[in-house]
Amino acid sequence: MMNRLGLDPDSVIQVDAGYDMSPFYEREVDIWHGFLTDEVLSAREKGYDVNVILPGYYGVHLYGMTIFTTEKMIRKNPELVERFLRATLRGHRWAIDNPSEAAMLALKYNPELDIEHEKAFMQAIIPLIHTGEDQIGWMEADVWEETHNILLEQGLLEGPLDVDKVYTTEFLQNIYGKN
């Protein structure tokens, strides 16, 4: 993000950070990284009025959650892949319609979770899953292109890839009947 904005990374002091947000709460650090559905929620639950800096508002666009499989599975069993995706999307729609029930489900698998936090999590994640701008799960080529470029810039890829071959909307097109 700093690269995109032409800011010098050396103009800030970077510190190692784990999951414990105490240094942020105690104002030892000014900016903390985190997810809207996790760290931001936790800070708000503790009563802190945090100012959220969204990378998407500063030229960095990445997909946060993706579903992946192998080329072999797609080649040999495309129906299974599509059915899996259909079921996943149906689950998403149910959770959007029933956030409290979905939160309760999480407790079924981990009774130590805080139900209020899980409900807040659901409310926070719903708009990220369904933005009102497209169908759930839909992907845009330019975001993948940008992700690829960022990974290259950051040295996380050894070399350029053919972006069109690393993702597919073929199954989503079948599901939504979209070209």
Partner: protein, 260 residues
């Protein structure tokens, strides 16, 4: 052995039952037909009412959107807006002239427009080159980039209304109208955008429903996204923002629902 009076009594009972059946069956059939016809009529009346209301709401909403488009176009055509915007795109944000012009745009153009004309919550200008917000009535939004937003991409060519979407920044549904700002030499220098007040849309949707105890109207976009809120559960769209039960569904049970 059965007596004669017993036989007569039985015959009498049978005749009573027979006559009762003869009179009840046509009555039941007639009642059922009446009930069926009445139900069909209520259904048809409700459908007619629905079509009428949806046409009416559509007209009102179109007029409201057209008013918003006209208002933003007028603002974008102001000579001073065009001149200041061109300078903003050419100068450094730290330049005192840049700062001064931003203040002028905010105080002399944006704020009076927001005060005088209902319907917009925020006005902002984006650099046509990169989608950066050069100046906004909400100062804290300046410097952000909206380069992928349809209202920015389409707004460079002509006046465009972006369908309701969830704004992560505002943490609520939003809708934006945008139009090109041409510099004095007629190049598109920037895009002027207005974030519209969805509360006004909600008021339009609710007009006429107050007369009924249970009836309500709300707007849902083509991706099942709540654009306006429920009359019975304020903040429902904000909290939920989505609808996934196929068509319109009432957030409150037993409330009459209407889909537009």
């Amino acid at each position: 052995m059965k007596s004669e009076s017993d036989t007569r009594f039985r015959l009498g009972s049978k005749l009573i039952i027979l006559f009762l059946l003869i009179s009840t069956i046509p009555l039941t059939i007639t009642g059922f037909i009446q009930f069926y016809l009445a139900r069909q009529r209520i259904k048809q009346d409700t459908m007619n009412h629905l079509y009428l209301m949806s046409t009416l709401k559509e007209t009102q909403l179109r007029r409201w959107v057209e008013d918003g488009k006209r208002s933003i176009r007028e603002l974008a055509r102001r000579p001073l807006i065009r001149e200041y915007t061109k300078i903003l795109t050419l100068t450094d944000p730290l330049d005192p002239q840049h700062q001064k012009l931003k203040t002028k745009i905010r105080e002399e153009h944006f704020n009076p427009t927001l005060e005088e004309e209902r319907g917009s919550l925020e006005l902002f200008i984006l650099d046509a080159e990169n989608g950066k917000i050069l100046v906004s009535s909400e100062k804290k939004h300046e410097g952000m980039y909206r380069e992928r937003e349809p209202y920015f991409l389409e707004g460079k060519n002509s006046t465009f209304v972006q369908n309701a979407y969830y704004s992560m920044l505002l943490e609520q549904p939003a809708m934006t109208i945008a139009t090109p700002v041409k510099s004095p030499d007629v190049d598109v220098a920037a895009v002027l955008a207005a974030r519209v007040d969805l509360h006004e849309m909600k008021e339009i949707m609710m007009q006429g429903t107050e007369l009924s105890e249970t009836e309500e109207t709300y707007l849902v976009n083509r991706f099942n996204f709540f654009v306006t809120e429920s009359r019975f559960e304020p903040d429902y769209a904000h909290k939920k923002g989505h609808l996934y039960r196929g068509g319109a569904v009432s957030p409150s049970k037993n409330k009459r629902r209407r889909s537009v």
